[in-house]
């Protein structure tokens, strides 16, 4: 089989699965639906492995599949760019997707929308693959919006629930704000480069490094700075960076498997991938890189704070995702693209693991998600417990685990960066380590250790306990471990969460594995300076014991253990003592209120005014119907002129003659 067929197989196999399960779901039944979609994703995964081997052997590919459109000088093609960056993403996407597909058999077992769900997640896999395999900006935007569509469909999967259909609309619209910037960035690329093909754009980019454009009179900005910031606005939407982060926590309304696949492991990392892919552009603009760095740092730290006070198990993980996406963005800003992608990969494994473990807990808790009503579950669910512990340890950056290598590298890369804002970013990512450890183990302790609180008859508040609409009888049986379709994906994800960092860090970060797929300008390459101190993964882990990050993480774990196992009264006391602070966190810094008030209500108010005053009153009222009235009124006046009296007419004639005479006399 030639390689191009193989490339095509990767996205098309899940697409076929999605179409079959979606259109013929009733005919093929539940088993048929999961068999056909899992087969599709499995084929995609295996093909990705083959392609990986081919790329590993030094082959790359860049070519079209078909011509989408031509107009004027513009030719737009659908095509693939297969290099090391692409193939790594393909592996991550197809592997996590495969795990989530299998897991779904157990998680959605009782759901009436079983086939629909499988169709959606396979469609998502297709879209995500088209996104990462693209060789041009058009197809990138295609995939970009397509994953947004599937995310929308899946957040609102339980469409009878008001909170779910609020969340999906919000997610779509916030993403559209990002896409708005993204599209304009693509427009400027077309204008300045005359093509939307990656390779040509990257090749021409250095020639545009000093070009400026003036969007506001008197202010000249670098063309590439404007382009990169606009593209990054797209990434801010998709990868939920401050201030476009607001949709991600609400997206937890969707079923847990998609929280793992879409809202943790893959889709939300599309923005990270995109910026890494565009490294030849971003490297040419210090201003854009600084912008990326600062936005990432804000997200990494401040979203972490919010994780501390969440009581919904999925929301804790969601805020942790936001914060980790911030870390990746910081790495991008520090020009450590390979580190960002490395963290993307390790995060995909351990965060998918944490979400799926959370889902396993949710199943055992009969779909109550409030961690205040859990506790002591390690006795009942050993596999979930151990895998969740592995995930948490990886997340907080425990030496030797996967998350350590990626996160520590980010911190080091920022330390060596000279860009404006890198000082703040370094502070944010370092302090963030403590915050991450604290909220992660707060959740871990509350769920798996301590007193069993799930016998409590009143069942959490209504904000929390909700994942599947049809409730089970709860509290009658002790919780038990979930079935194998759930636990096997947990185990299969726990393995890379443990090992993938140790095994691959050498090649991926310090071995120039990405080659030409990622471009770093020498003056930005702070990470290279860190690399000089690197002596293998083992030494790196040992060295970590001397860094503040390690001790901060340890302190976070210890403090949360003290608070939530030994002295549960302290957190409540602190919340009372620092009431203002607590309320700020509880209201998530007020972004939701502000957006609802300013944008949502503001737009409706403005629309209503324009309609009532513009269309109805001014145009229809005054002009259209006004014309009709005016005609009537003039006719009414003119009617009186024809009075029939000779002296009226004679008088008018005299006046007229006088006026004419004056007119001619003037000239």
């Amino acid at each position: 089989m030639d390689m191009k067929t193989l490339y095509l197989t990767v996205p098309l196999a899940p697409l076929i699965g999605a179409i079959v399960a979606g259109l013929f779901g009733k005919a093929i039944g539940r088993t048929g639906a999961h068999v056909v979609t899992i087969a599709g994703v499995a084929v995609a995964f295996l093909a990705s492995v083959l392609i990986f081997q081919d790329v590993q052997a030094g082959n790359t590919y860049n070519g079209p599949v078909y011509t989408w459109l031509t107009a004027g000088d513009l030719t737009l093609e659908i095509g693939f760019l297969i290099d090391r960056l692409t193939v790594l993403m393909m592996l991550v996407v197809t592997f996590v997707s495969l795990m989530v597909h299998i897991y779904t058999i157990g998680y959605m077992a009782d759901d009436p929308g079983y086939q629909r769900f499988f169709s959606y997640i396979s469609l998502f896999t297709f879209s995500m693959l088209m996104l990462v395999m693209s060789n041009n900006f058009l197809q990138l935007f295609f995939g970009w919006e397509a994953v947004g569509l599937v995310s929308y469909l899946l957040i609102g999967f339980w469409y009878t629930r008001e909170s779910a259909i609020y969340a999906n609309l919000k997610a779509f619209l916030v993403n559209r704000v990002g896409d708005f910037g993204f599209l304009l960035g693509i427009g400027l690329i077309w204008h300045y480069f005359g093509t939307l093909d990656y390779a040509q754009v990257f090749q021409m980019a250095p020639h545009l490094a000093n070009r400026t454009l003036s969007l506001i009179d008197g202010h000249a900005w670098g063309v590439l700075t404007v382009i990169c910031i606009l593209l990054f606005i797209g990434a801010m939407g998709k990868s939920a960076q401050f201030p476009l982060h607001v949709w991600l926590p609400d997206s937890m309304e969707g079923p847990t498997p998609i929280s793992a696949l879409i809202h943790a492991a893959t889709m939300v990392t599309a923005g990270i991938f995109m910026v890494a892919r565009m490294s030849p552009l971003f490297e040419l603009s210090d201003a854009a890189l600084s912008f990326v760095l600062v936005i990432g740092a804000i997200t990494a730290l401040f979203m972490g704070f919010l994780g501390i006070i969440q009581n919904d198990i999925k929301r804790v993980v969601a805020y942790s995702t936001l914060s980790q996406l911030g870390y990746m963005t910081v790495a991008l800003g520090a020009s450590a693209y390979s580190v960002a992608i490395f963290h993307l990969m390790t995060h995909a494994f351990f965060k998918a693991l944490l979400f799926l473990a959370a889902g396993s807990v949710i199943i055992a808790m009969h779909h109550n998600q409030d961690i205040r009503y859990m506790g002591g579950l390690r006795k009942y669910m050993p596999i979930t417990w151990i895998t969740a512990l592995i995930g948490s340890l990886a997340l907080i950056g425990t030496p030797f685990l996967s998350g350590f290598y990626s996160k520590d590298s980010i911190i080091e890369a920022v330390k060596y960066s000279d860009l404006a804002g890198s000082g703040f970013a370094y502070f944010a990512v370092t302090l963030g380590v403590f915050v991450t450890a604290f909220y992660s183990f707060r959740m871990y302790f509350l769920v798996f250790h301590g007193k069993e609180r799930f016998h409590n008859p009143h069942h959490g508040d209504h904000e929390a306990g909700k994942d599947v609409p049809h409730g089970h009888g709860h509290g009658h049986h002790p919780p038990h471990e979930t079935p194998w379709v759930v636990t096997v994906p947990l185990i299969l994800l726990a393995i890379p969460s443990l090992l993938i960092g140790y095994v691959t860090v050498d090649a991926l970060l310090f071995g120039d594995w990405f080659g030409h797929a990622i471009h770093v300008a020498p003056q930005h390459d702070g990470f290279a300076r860190f690399a000089q101190t690197y002596h293998g993964p083992f030494a790196m882990a040992l060295h970590a014991l001397q860094t503040p990050a390690f001790w901060l993480a340890l302190a976070g774990v210890a403090l949360s253990g003290f608070f939530y196992l030994k002295r549960p009264d302290i957190p409540a006391l602190l919340a009372k003592k620092f009431g203002v602070l607590y309320r700020i966190l509880e209201r998530k810094y007020g972004f939701d209120e502000f957006n609802d008030w300013f944008f949502a209500r503001g737009a409706r108010l403005l629309g209503g005014r324009l309609w009532r005053w513009g269309d109805v009153a001014a145009i229809d009222g005054a002009i259209v119907n006004g014309t009709a009235r005016l005609v009537g009124r003039i006719a009414g006046v003119v009617r009186h002129l024809q009075s029939g009296y000779i002296y009226h007419y004679a008088f008018a004639m005299i006046i007229g003659v006088l006026l004419l005479a004056t007119w001619f006399a003037r000239a």
Partner: protein
């Protein structure tokens, strides 16, 4: 010049003859027979247009499938037909829409079936005439005549306020076209006694004459598009029109206005077009932003889609006055795509209206529970309306935005707000109507779409997806004609 009856004549007269036949044999006793006859007429009318595309010469910028016969020799008026890359697709789109409309009205229309069907068929023939007429008088006759069936459709099968809406529609559009008549006569004399539209393209004109002609044609066509601020007839007409009327109005009639810009304004008065492009661009951008916001607050689904139509047509006029290939082809693509999507959206509202007899968003909620198949179709069309890539709705907007960036970044910026507004008003409506728990007994009793509705919506879904995934065949036919037009517009034809 073809021997015998040409394809374009068939495209015009097959539906008209079928319509007259239905009227002649009509009567409500054999309604099913009338429906079948109408369907046969519509399908035949569609079939004869297909060779226009398959036999089209992509390389030629000139008129193809031309027909010429003397009509009123004393005034040099001819029966002159022909299509180029700009008009050809609209003849096909119109004939396809007619088939859909006949199917959509199959069971819904129970009174005066024969007259209803005949009105649509005759209208279809007249619209084909508008798109293929190359003689000024012939164009004007078709242009005016097509108003009559639509006026009747709204006035007879419309809602409670139909008379107000019909008269508003009629006067609004008639007022515009009277100015056009004056222009046509002026051009007749300026060109030395010719009514041939292509000859007018070559007539030299002073700036004053161009400006006056621009204003006159602008009013005639801007009302049809409709452009802000002469758009207020459209929401009223849609709200009162029966589903089929809305479909034809949105899918085809609006396109006549935009077509006029390309056939008359740009080539006949190129200097005035360039001079006043800023005005058209401004009005187009107002349509996108202002109307986008207005659409957000509509509580009547048809009004909402009507306003959404105005915003989408704003892209068409914006694209035309960018004077680059992406803009003009993007505008044309947007016209065709809007034909599919607006037709589908109005049909979707019609499907629900047939069951619940309300267009108010507030009367619905949770339709997905009782009509899952319908909800899937509606989702697709809603996403297309919001310009999702992969659907036809994306292609034209994307092209026009790219074209706009080349001219002025801020134009593109304002145009791109449709990404947000379009999604906001469409999906918010979808959320309130389709998602949620079953809102009331009416919704609980709604039956999912039947096979006839499935065919209609399925056909449109194929069109929307097909054009979104592979728009190349649509733009390929345009290139030669659009390049030719642009070259023409770039040359001044000022005479002092």
């Amino acid at each position: 010049m073809t021997e015998g009856i040409g394809l374009l004549s068939l495209a015009i007269w097959v539906p008209i003859v079928a319509g007259v036949l239905i009227l002649a044999t009509g009567g409500d006793k054999n309604a099913d027979g009338q429906r079948t006859l109408a369907l046969i007429g519509a399908v035949l009318g569609f079939l004869v247009t297909i060779p226009l595309w398959t036999g089209f010469d992509y390389a030629s910028a000139g008129m193809q499938f031309e027909e010429l016969a003397p009509w009123i020799p004393g005034f040099n008026v001819h029966y002159r037909l022909g299509v180029d890359g700009i008009s050809m697709l609209f003849v096909i789109l119109n004939s396809l829409t007619t088939v859909l409309v006949v199917l959509a009205g199959w069971q819904v229309i129970r009174e005066r079936v024969s007259q209803y069907m005949a009105a649509f068929l005759i209208q279809s023939g007249l619209l084909n005439g508008v798109f293929s007429a190359l003689d000024g008088v012939l164009f004007y006759v078709f242009f005016e005549a097509m108003l009559i069936p639509l006026y009747l459709i709204i006035g007879m099968w419309g809602g409670p306020n139909r008379v107000y809406a019909a008269i508003k529609f009629f006067l609004y559009t008639l007022l515009g076209s009277l100015l056009m008549l004056v222009s046509i006569l002026y051009l007749y004399f300026q060109s030395g006694g010719s009514f041939e539209i292509l000859a007018w393209h070559r007539v030299g004109l002073s700036m004053t004459a161009q400006t006056l002609l621009f204003v006159a044609f602008f009013f005639a066509f801007a009302v049809k598009v409709p452009m802000w601020p002469v758009h207020t007839w459209l929401p009223d007409a849609h709200v009162e029109a029966p589903t089929g009327g809305s479909v034809v109005l949105a899918a085809i009639t609006l396109k006549v206005g935009a077509y006029g810009f390309l056939r008359f304004i740009l080539p006949i008065v190129p200097d005035a077009s360039r001079e006043y492009a800023w005005l058209i661009v401004a009005l187009s951008l107002i349509a996108v932003v202002y109307i986008g916001l207005v659409a957000l607050v509509q509580s009547d689904m048809k009004k909402l889609i009507a306003y959404s139509s105005i915003a989408h047509m704003g892209f068409v006029t914006l694209g035309f006055f960018l004077f680059n290939p992406l803009g003009i082809e993007g505008g044309l693509i947007q016209m065709i795509s809007h034909g599919f999507i607006s037709a589908a959206m109005f049909l979707c509202v019609g499907v629900m209206y047939d069951r619940v007899h309300s267009r108010q968003i507030a009367d619905y909620g949770g339709v997905a529970n009782t009509m899952p198949r319908f909800a899937a179709f509606f989702m697709l069309f809603a996403m297309a309306n919001a310009g999702l890539p992969g659907t036809s709705g994306f292609v034209g907007e994307f092209m026009v935005i790219l074209g706009a960036v080349q001219v002025n970044f801020w134009w593109a910026f304002l145009a791109a707000t449709t990404l947000i507004f379009g999604a906001a008003y469409t999906l918010w409506m979808y959320k309130r109507v389709v998602f949620g728990a079953v809102a009331n007994d009416h919704v609980a009793q709604m039956k999912d779409i039947d096979s006839r509705e499935f065919v209609v919506l399925g056909l449109l879904a194929l069109c929307v997806l097909g054009m979104g995934l592979y728009p190349l065949p649509f733009t390929e036919v345009m290139h030669a004609s659009v390049d030719n037009l642009l070259a023409h517009v770039a040359n001044s034809k000022l005479v002092h």
